[in-house]
């Protein structure tokens, strides 16, 4: 599975740009980036999902992991997800603690 994730933190806002597929084999790498963002004390997490091709069951769980890792006060937004990806997140019910924002 191909996956790429780039973390940048600026003025308390952590941005993780993800590319490729988020599934059971690639999710751990995504989790590492979230761990780093949390360690750097980010108050807002933005996940740039414009190039996220596919989100498997493990990928959905990564969103919950992010919420649990960052804490309730941190705003988490998934930005620019394609229609199939954002639809899957909504229909499976994993959008209740994150913001889904169009690009």
């Amino acid at each position: 599975m191909s996956f790429d994730g780039i973390l940048s933190v600026s003025e308390g806002i952590a941005t993780i740009e993800i590319k490729g597929e988020l599934d059971a084999s690639t999710a751990p790498r995504f989790h590492d980036l979230i761990d780093q963002a949390a360690e750097q004390g980010a108050v807002r997490l933005e996940i740039d999902a414009r190039h996220l091709d596919f989100l498997a069951s493990a990928g959905l769980r990564s969103l919950v992991f992010a919420r649990q890792k960052m804490g309730d006060e941190v705003r988490i937004a998934v930005i620019g997800a394609t229609e199939p990806v954002s639809r899957t997140i909504r229909l499976a019910g994993f959008d209740h603690s994150i913001e889904l924002i169009d690009a």
Binding site: A24, S25, S57, L91, A92, G93, F94
Partner: protein, 714 residues
Amino acid sequence: MTTQDVRERVDAFPTRRIGGHRVRAGRPFPYGAHPVPGGINFSVYSDRATAMRLVLFERGARHPMAELEFPPEFRIGSVYAMTVFDLDAENLEYGFRADGPFDPGAGDRFDAGKVLSDPYARLISGRDVWGREPDWDDVYPYRAKVLDDDFDWGDDTPLGIPTEDLVIYETHVRGFTRHPSSGVSAPGTYAGLREKIPHLKDLGVNCVELLPVFEFDELDNPRTDPATGGRLHNYWGYNTVSFFAPKAGYAATGRFGMQADEFKTLVRDLHRAGIEVMLDVVFNHTAEGNEQGPTISFRGLDNATYYMLTPQGEYYNFSGTGNTVNCNHPVVRDFVLSCLRYWVSEYHIDGFRFDLAAILDRAPDGTPLPNPPLLEQLAHDPILRHTKLIAEAWDAAGLYQVGAFPNYGRWSEWNGKYRDTVRRFVKGEPGLVGELATRMAGSPDLYRGRTASASVNFVTAHDGFTLHDLVSYNDKHNEANGEDNRDGANDNHSWNCGEEGPSGSAHVRDLRTRQMKNMLGILLTSQGVPMLLAGDEVGRTQLGNNNGYCQDNALSWFDWGLVEANAELLAFTRALIAFRHAHPVLRSADHPTGSDRVGSGYPDIGWHGVRAWDPDWSAHSRVLAWMRCGRHAKGGTVRDDHVYVAVNAHWESHDLELPGLPEGQAWHLFADTGLGAPHGPGPLGAEPELHHPGRYHLGPHTLVILVGRDRRTG
């Protein structure tokens, strides 16, 4: 070392290779497939197999990628367990191949040519998208998969609504939102149902009962619609393939294998809206049918354990569908209990309605048992301690146990006698006043000592006519089912109000509306637990088809256009439900006794006819009224208004003398089914006082509900 560091287990490494995979002896519990450190543990029971293989597929592949034989040392008792390492759980499908004797006379039907599904599979693929044509040559059509069972339930806690306070709404998951008029983003799915929670909340129901959601094969129906030539489906789903897996085809995300998450989200959101979730479960038979049916799982793993067999090894057929699950066999008992515990603990389900439940108290040889081990165990199970249990207390072989189901003080029953009595009385059959009284008092003749909430009262259910069709058809019209109208019940106790089917007559339509409201009025003021059929609140019709089990089309789908078209009926139903919630006197758990136990001067229930305190129980009487004394609400622990309900099933009006009220109180009009808009029910709590305090003019085929309380001063 913090709690985050988990010591590595000394039994988390492989000990040998089988079939090209690194493996070790597995753990027998839990049955099924579960991730363990480094691998997946597989466990399956078979008492009489002579050899067992684990069959592994890459997702969607035609043929297995590996077959691993369980060696003797991987077996404990009759349980085969193996942990396999380095598997990609996400892309895995697994099954079993069991070898053993084919000796039907002895009960064995092993077939090593078949790949068998796991009875404990928690996710099934093969019917991921409803109705999609599969590869009919697939050697393994219903494939077990490994489930990601973690889920963020948030603060979901059991609602714990007392059974006597429930208002149950029975619906089919797909049928509820599949109609194009639903306007939801994923029609016919768990996600779709979730979008309609506002409708349920607004209606006021606090419990939804879902037709079977355990994985089943909707394509399992050989018939076609004689009129259109279109395929008929196994739409209702009373034919379980897999008891631990939610139906993928009911999930918008089923194609991605996310049906468990989507369903859990639905349950979570229903709970947030104050609505409990009950599942219709079918333990009386499986989709394998009799010896001519497919071998999917149970037959190939342990036929003699899972099915009731005659001494000659033939299938007992108490379900009418081909086979009967051997529920009281110790191993099958364990299976059923594990299943129920699983749905309660993992899916937060609040209750179950057991289809053809009389089968659950039959012994392996079919004999009805007075103290059936399964039911006894169920009643005392720790996890299921507060789970609601409802029995359809009959089966398809003449065992009718309404009022006699072995209940251990826990069970409620679908009260078929209530349904028939109310239908017959409202349609105008004489001589039923006495029986109607018994039914609306919670059927103490059947349930004395078991509390009134043992009686689930209903006038309609998925079986039979919808409420609208009950008042629009004298006869069933099931031609579309492809069986020459031979299928479906004949004793519907329906009355078409003067014309069969759609009518242009305002008089007929008016009467039909009134009759529907009469039945709803009786149902929602009766002692016991009321159950409504989805769509009855908007007059849903199946055009006279009273057995819609195979109709996956507009005939059975909820038409949301009716919400506006029949807004008045919806408002009436909503008001009645709100009335029930507002008046605890209607929701006592115990049967009324007809005596004054609190010194109010009134009995807890009093019967009236045209004259107060003088009911007419005679054979030609068609008028009955009852008054519930508000001081007796909830065993006298709560004060409520007095409630008076009168129903006139006669074709002539009657002037009713009303029972007197204490000084300072008066009767107020909540609802009269003969009054159309704008004279709707209520307003709740501010109902208008009657013009004539002591009497009421009740029209033909009409019901009235009055509330007795302090008159407004000034």
